[in-house]
Assembly symmetry: C2
Homo-oligomer: 394 residues x 2
């Protein structure tokens, strides 16, 4: 039998995937499982986006342009302008989700063996994309005690080698919910310019910022034009994760010309999803106000309830819809499985994402979980109650 | 300025892309351009597929399963059964187009520096996927004089090294239109088993087979279960290139488990497109009969007319909707540009795909073009007339 690739062997499994069979068995046994484990919002997709697809008049479902239609990219540029990000349509390439935007970015700026520095914990799939690209993630650990703020810039600098090609941040952060301040972004800029590194920012949660704070994009930094690459997506913004539309944004022409070659090889992003995404740009502001208000309330409820549990540590997230909590257990992989396999309270249990998958440092985050607040408030309250009882029994 | 990757520098541009600005200028100057250059059919997408999307009742456009929904995969398995291919739903992973199926396959079975043997000329984007994966395409040249039949198996065997991981074929072939016989597939099987190589077949044109011939899939070969990986797509079958839905099919559990990890990293294939693709499986047989009849007629017209031009050599394709023609010019890249830039006949010209992009051997195919017969017969006749006049003048 021919053997699979080393790369394939090294590809990480989704940190949640291992738990799925246990969740399925629990459900088969009549247990109600509250899903705190995934970033799939329960918020309705804007009607204007759904209707655009329902009312489409396509007869031949043809390829679109590899970089996305000019009309759509022009509308995206207009949307960015509202966020004080000034780019032209030809500084945007439409991709199949933020995932592909990141893959094209890594393909364009890294070769096998190159290194990318990422503050840890980070979005688990960065590990997968790095493995698929044959590059090394060099983590800089951030601390729950500092609410996962940017680690001291000296810690980044100490890790830079001739192989370092980029620093990658997620802002606001998944799984941390941390929102980088303007000063932190400026520190990263100074470092990127000093060492001539790309600064890649995954800004897919841009709209989800609370407590009157403002999101600061790397694309707003003057002088960083040749170094900044932004990764974006419609998935969370419009609660349309299933569309699979994202984009790469950069003013570096060489990066864009290179990313376009990767885009051409896969022909085009999905057509229906582009119709939905283009229409979604006309979503009224009130949608975001309401959604943000809802998430803020959920966050408040979740953090308040979690803090009531003895031994639980949680940092109040300023953005996105996740928080990382430290639990009084040795290994949350084991605990999360136990929650599904062995525990229930009045026929109900919770599924959480063990945080180990969000670290690349071996053994880090073993006592942490990521909780997504994508459920209604009463469900969140009940979920935390279940978690509390489970921890008492465990 | 930070530099882009070596890989990015090596990524090939689409062979047609270079010509696009010339086509746009021609159009701006009022020239009517017949597009013989792309595999975008003019055939209507089945109404049943389009209607399924128009009638969808989605409220939250959520992630689907990374491997595609079980219902859809079960229906795909049923479709294969009609083609005498016997697989279960868990031997199928739904991908974002055939492109992603091929990328996941290469990721699962090759590491940087590995080699894949491919009969040449081949689908141009194989070069892009190979570059993106850091692997080497080892071509075996097939000849227009043999209608691009499988080259002698000894020629494959002579190229096998310890780095060789797979043989990749496209059947029926893009750009050749060649349909491998059952015997040729068996020869490849014997070779794959002897050297323990994967045999990967891109069978996206399965339905497009003419002259009463039958398509023979690598999945029909007993004994090849652990070595065969099939790449498929809905793009051409249902004229829905813009959906971006394909799949990987294999009975090798290790390959499937590995490909699934790549699939998980990018979360899920597009949801709307899966709705269309699932519904498309209920397309009545008459659709294919009519479409095939139409393509067969187009091929007949095209080949007949091309043969009338002095100095033009063309092999009659048995499948797909392309043919490769040899023209009495030294360099079809130059000629194709000239057609758009300098030539017109009564305000009309043609755009063809220079074949050099379908070869990885430097300098091969310089006097060949790929012609896609995706236009109505009268347009094909007129296109060849234009080509004839152009060649006379050139």
């Amino acid at each position: 039998m021919p053997s699979i690739s080393k790369k394939g062997t090294l590809m990480p499994e989704s940190p949640i995937r291992k738990l799925v069979p246990y969740a399925e068995t629990a459900k088969k046994n009549g247990i109600n499982v509250y899903h705190l484990n995934i970033g799939q919002p329960d918020i309705n997709t804007p009607k204007i986006a759904l209707d655009a697809v329902k009312n489409n008049t396509i007869k031949v479902l043809a390829y679109s342009r590899s970089e996305g239609s000019e009309v759509y990219r022009t509308k995206i540029a207009k949307y960015y302008k509202k966020h004080d990000i000034h780019v032209n349509h030809d500084e945007i390439i439409v991709t199949t989700g933020g995932s592909e935007a990141l893959l094209f970015t890594l393909g364009s700026i890294t070769d096998v063996g190159d290194e990318v520095i990422i503050p840890e914990p980070f979005y688990a799939n960065y590990n997968g994309f790095a493995t698929a690209s044959g590059i090394k993630v060099v983590p800089v650990i951030s601390s729950i005690d500092e609410a996962f703020a940017l680690p001291p810039i000296e810690e980044f600098e100490a890790l830079i080698t001739p192989k370092t090609k980029a620093i990658l941040v997620c802002n606001p952060g998944n799984p941390t919910g941390y929102l980088y301040t303007r000063e932190e972004i400026k520190k990263l800029k100074t470092l990127a310019l000093k060492h001539d590194l790309f600064l890649v920012a995954d800004e897919v949660y841009r709209e989800f910022v609370y407590d009157g704070l403002t999101h600061h994009s790397i694309m707003q930094e003057t002088g960083l034009e040749q170094h900044a690459i932004m990764v974006d997506s419609v998935s969370k913004r419009y609660s349309m994760c299933g569309a699979r539309i994202g984009c790469i944004v950069s003013k570096n022409k060489e990066v864009m010309a290179t990313a376009l070659k990767f885009a051409q090889a896969r022909l085009s992003p999905p057509t229906y999803a582009q119709i939905a995404s283009e229409a979604a740009l006309d979503t009224p502001e009130s949608y975001f106000t309401e959604v943000n208000e809802e998430y803020k309330e959920r966050r408040n409820v979740l953090v308040r309830e979690l803090k009531k549990i003895p031994g639980v540590k949680v940092s109040s997230p300023k953005g996105a819809f996740y928080c990382v909590a430290e639990l009084p257990v040795a290994d949350t992989d084991v605990f999360a499985q136990w929650l599904l396999e062995k525990f229930n309270d009045k026929g109900e249990t919770v599924m959480v994402a063990p945080a180990s998958g969000f670290y690349s440092t071996k053994g880090a985050g073993k006592n942490q979980v990521r909780i997504a607040y994508v459920l209604k408030q009463e469900k969140l309250v009940r979920s935390v109650e279940i978690l509390k009882k489970a921890l008492e029994m465990y």
